[in-house]
Symmetry: C2
Subunit: 108 residues, 2 copies
């Protein structure tokens, strides 16, 4: 699937950036909530190091994923939808072609 050589109109860029921001905020909010809850359950050293490992993995994952770039945007949107941080509805206004591609990617 060719996803990196398609043009984005100004409006589409704005929709994409807004969706990207929204997914990011949802994921961060959820992560903060998860860490707060799991920190409250910490009873021993292993729990601390497990939290440390969890945070390190999340950091790596989030830093990599939210690196806004037109060339990978359709893939990132598909991933965000699969992970539950974004909905196709958030992308309303993108061309039918892009939405179809994103939708197809989410089923891969």
């Amino acid at each position: 699937m060719q996803a990196n050589d398609i043009g984005w109109t100004k409006t589409e860029e704005q929709i994409a950036q807004q969706a990207f921001k929204q997914a990011y905020e949802r994921e961060i909010k959820d992560l903060i909530q998860t860490v707060r809850e799991s920190a409250g359950q910490i009873a021993k050293l292993d729990d601390l190091w497990r939290l440390n490992d969890f945070l390190s993995a999340k950091r790596h994952h989030i830093d990599g994923k939210y690196d806004y770039s037109d060339s990978t945007l359709l893939f990132v949107f598909a991933q965000l939808i699969q992970e539950g941080w974004l909905y196709l509805d958030d992308l309303e206004g993108l061309s039918k072609d892009k939405l179809t591609k994103i939708s197809a990617l989410t089923r891969m």
Copy 2:
């Protein structure tokens, strides 16, 4: 100061191990409390990554420090006393020579 070529009686070994364990438990308990409290204050992503960095540093520090070895024990005890996880009283029963050395090391 020669601290690594001194003998330990059976009783001293037991006192040392008990003191070591006690300091470890104090430090871990304090760390768990600190993490619980700071996790409750997390409001944004930077706070999460700061907690991650804090845990990584603590892990490195604790893993290194609590590596029980006769040859470095006097130094570790001095460090634990300086950090507030151990008191000279916890080491009561060690030879006067060892206690003097530990005490001197805490002032370095």
